[in-house]
Subunit: 510 residues, 2 copies
């Protein structure tokens, strides 16, 4: 028996210790974020700012530690003694190190400054619906983002570098291929539903629903879906989100409106999906608190929230579970059929000017529109001053409506004000991954929809745990994960045929 | 006009930046502590442990930073350009730096190990009431504490160095002087009350008090006393405490028992006193987030909780405010006089074996007994194996009772198991400071007791804000603060005459 441990194994183990220390500090940062949204007294934002800044400085120092960088470079070159999990750890940690160290101090300071000035300009610009006030900031973000991308990796198109920060392994070439196919199928479907479809009745759903009772109902649903309160918390906050400090400390928040039962329900199921992904992260020793156990990408994270929200929560079988639950908490809820509840919950929103108020069909086109514009801004084919007119003409083309002003148009989202370019596509990628994963789950889990109908969600949750959650960031891209899980890369036809078949039925297309 | 800034001013300002960074990180540590007690899901203690350890490591690195130490040494020698606030900052920061760096790594590791092994031994030892199981750990703590003290400052008696960590500027010589005087006055008073006094009736207070209603009542009282919810939170936890992350984020927790109204009330008022001190800390620029604005000592902190709990909450005038409040929340509360409520709340507990269950008279003797023993252990006049017999004979001498076993005697407290020697005296110092401060407040604030009777607590709160809270750690000792606030050092006669007069009346001494 040999007690000899290879040099790269020793180096790997030392590196793991450093990476876990960073994970622990980032977990604290996650807790501070949750606390700020849910618990922090109003008068202490100043002190919290100083605390966040001090912690960010500490994390920055650890993430840009020269010894860590050198170790990762060596390990990246000598993977002979490492297994696939360890190789994935090194790959992702090295990428993160490169990102953290690539940006020169001057640019980092410029970005930090721009984050606040551009946000202020956007708020003012949106308030007065005056794009000209925001245009200079947007122009600066375009310039700064190009510079940032080139420092990180100047061998790739700038947009691809930005995109990769949110959706690991995705490229604009692949995204064009995917989104072109989606657009071609979806634009005519939306137009057809609008002109020839019969909109479902939702008037009966209107009413007063106590937010306290909604919170209790949604807590029950989250628990039924599999949220583990031993490893997380459920609270109410102004902006619903899922955060926390660790897979064993996942903190999900929800929000309820007295006059809208559906929004609270879908929101709670959506956040539960995010939370189940977080709680399902791999805690085995080779994975625990390391890059390989973290979320694959924003798109895959969103796929988990949307799978539970749309594939499950807004499906026909789920209504058999949901309707009696609603009546249990709201005894005076109308006596309707599960089909009627299903249809009402799946109504397409009109006029669909605002992304966050739109439904799954029109949301997709909102995202594609934004992707096309931000990609054009970065590669120089679209100029900042053209944004409002291009926005409006694409809205007309894709959704058949034109915003009355820029506040309801190209100024509606906060993302660009914060410099996030490459983020929008992850919403629709998430919706598409969700559909393809769910189609495959239906084939893999016997009687899945019957289980859902009966409120038995554990077969699906456990399948997702082992096929998605536990795999974390092992693969290099969403496509690779899709191949591993479903046997093929992301396929727009799966998404399109799901939408076509679902909405043709609900809207009774002839 | 000169724009010249002296070298020491520049160095001071640089040092302040470092000290504030440490404060910010310690604030995060405070938040983690609160979260762990109030919010953390049960299944995540492991990850929280890793987070606390990572943060502790970061704070240790910042606190022992060589550059910080050098700057503080220089500033301590060249105070010509510094004002008294800045000098106090340097004094306390330098002391803290010395403490943080003094202990060699081997000893620090031994202490860390002993913290867990001694705790486990104590738990087992108390469970079986077998002192022999804990004795070796206690012996190790004595040895380790002597070593620790000698590394920090070998020119002082070891106990004084330990004491100073909890009660800045206090010495065993001064403490002997104080406690001897207290003991001489108190032992005969307790004996006299026991033999010749008439114990007040408390049977009528027994009943069922909904803990939810108690929580609402105590929240109202905390707000009336001046707790600012814009700069803090009030929650319920298993162990009541006051923590948080900053003077603008003070988090106080309370606990209630269904069958005991008094314990919840006094506990809530006690924690409010701690919280008001924290919220009252100086936020002016020269003080903010620096050592000089921190709490003076454990004893002074305790003086603020005990001032509100005992001097105010258990006083006669307060019952005029409290009784209608109780009846508002508990309409079926018996119709009694405020005097009867006052007397019932101030009953001396018998047989007074357990410190945490005792009253203000017997508590004092519990503390003096522990002080005498731990001081003797450190200076070598008492051996570990003698502790049980000395404990029991002092109990007989001071309180007239002997514990039936060591679990109810020398094994009852957790402090020594954690190596804390020099902590116990701060409880009684706090009680004494509180009495002397309150006596002076009554002379300084016109109609103070009338204000209290009317539920108007702001004159007292504001007086404490400006005379105690805002002064933070400016002075070098509690005695110095007492001189500044009350005109004389801590005077045991003030405490004794308060106790004598109060209890002679309640117990109707002939």
């Amino acid at each position: 028996m040999s007690t000899c441990v290879s040099a790269s194994t020793t180096l790997y183990n030392e590196t793991v210790t450093k990476l876990r220390e960073i994970t622990a500090l980032e977990g604290i940062s996650g807790l501070l974020g949750w606390d700020e949204m849910v618990m922090l007294p109003a008068g202490s934002s100043g002190s919290r700012g100083a605390q966040k800044s001090a912690l960010a400085g500490v994390i920055y120092d650890k993430k840009t530690d020269k010894g860590l960088g050198e170790a990762l470079s060596i390990l990246k070159q000598s993977t002979a003694d490492l297994n696939s999990i360890q190789i994935a750890n090194v790959r992702d940690a090295h990428k993160e190190y490169t990102r953290s160290t690539a940006i020169p101090k001057e640019l980092a300071q410029k970005i930090a400054l721009l984050e606040s000035t551009a946000y202020e300009a956007w708020v003012e610009s949106r308030k007065t619906s005056n794009f000209a006030l925001f245009a200079p900031s947007l122009q600066e973000w375009v310039t700064v983002n190009r510079q940032r991308a080139s420092y990180i990796d100047d061998s790739l198109p700038a947009y691809d570098v930005l995109l990769d920060m949110f959706e690991k392994g995705m490229t604009s070439v692949r995204l064009n291929e995917i989104f072109n196919e989606v657009r071609s199928g979806l634009v005519p479907l939306i137009a057809e539903l609008k002109t020839r479809g019969t909109s479902p009745d939702t008037a009966w759903l209107q009413g007063q629903y106590s937010t306290d009772v909604q919170a209790k109902l949604c807590r029950q649903i989250a628990l039924d879906l599999g949220f583990d309160v031993e490893k997380g918390r459920l609270d109410v906050s102004v902006h619903p989100f899922t955060g926390g400090s660790h897979p064993t400390d996942v903190r999900m928040t929800t929000r309820f409106k007295e006059h809208d039962l559906t929004e609270g329900l879908t929101g709670a199921i959506h956040e539960t999906g995010h939370a189940l992904y977080e709680q399902g992260r791999n805690l085995d020793d080779e994975w625990r608190d390391l890059p390989v156990s973290s979320a694959m990408s924003m798109g895959i994270h969103e796929s988990q929230s949307l799978l539970w929200e749309r594939m499950v929560g807004l499906s026909k079988p789920f209504q058999h579970y949901l309707l009696p639950k609603i009546k249990e908490f709201f005894p005076s809820f109308p006596d309707v059929s599960t089909d009627k509840l299903y249809e009402a919950q799946n109504k397409i929103q009109e006029p669909s000017l605002i992304r966050v108020e739109s439904d799954e069909l029109t949301y997709t086109m909102h995202v594609i529109l934004r992707y096309e514009i931000e990609c054009g801004l970065i590669d120089g084919t679209i100029q900042v001053e053209e944004v409002p007119s291009i926005w409006n003409s694409k809205m007309q083309q894709y959704l058949g409506v034109v915003p009355p002003n820029d506040a309801a148009g190209c100024l509606q989202d906060i993302h660009w004000a914060g410099g996030a370019m490459g983020y929008f596509p992850t919403y629709t990628l998430g919706a598409m991954y969700a559909t393809q994963i769910y189609e495959h789950a239906k084939r893999s889990i016997p009687d899945l929809e019957l289980h859902i109908q009966n409120g038995n969600f554990s077969p699906l949750k456990e399948w997702l745990n082992s096929h998605i959650h536990k795999l974390g960031s092992l693969y290099a891209s969403g496509d690779e994960l899709m191949v591993a899980v479903t046997g093929k890369p992301l396929d727009p036809q799966v998404y399109l045929s799901y939408l076509r078949s679902k909405y043709s039925e609900i809207y009774k297309l002839p």
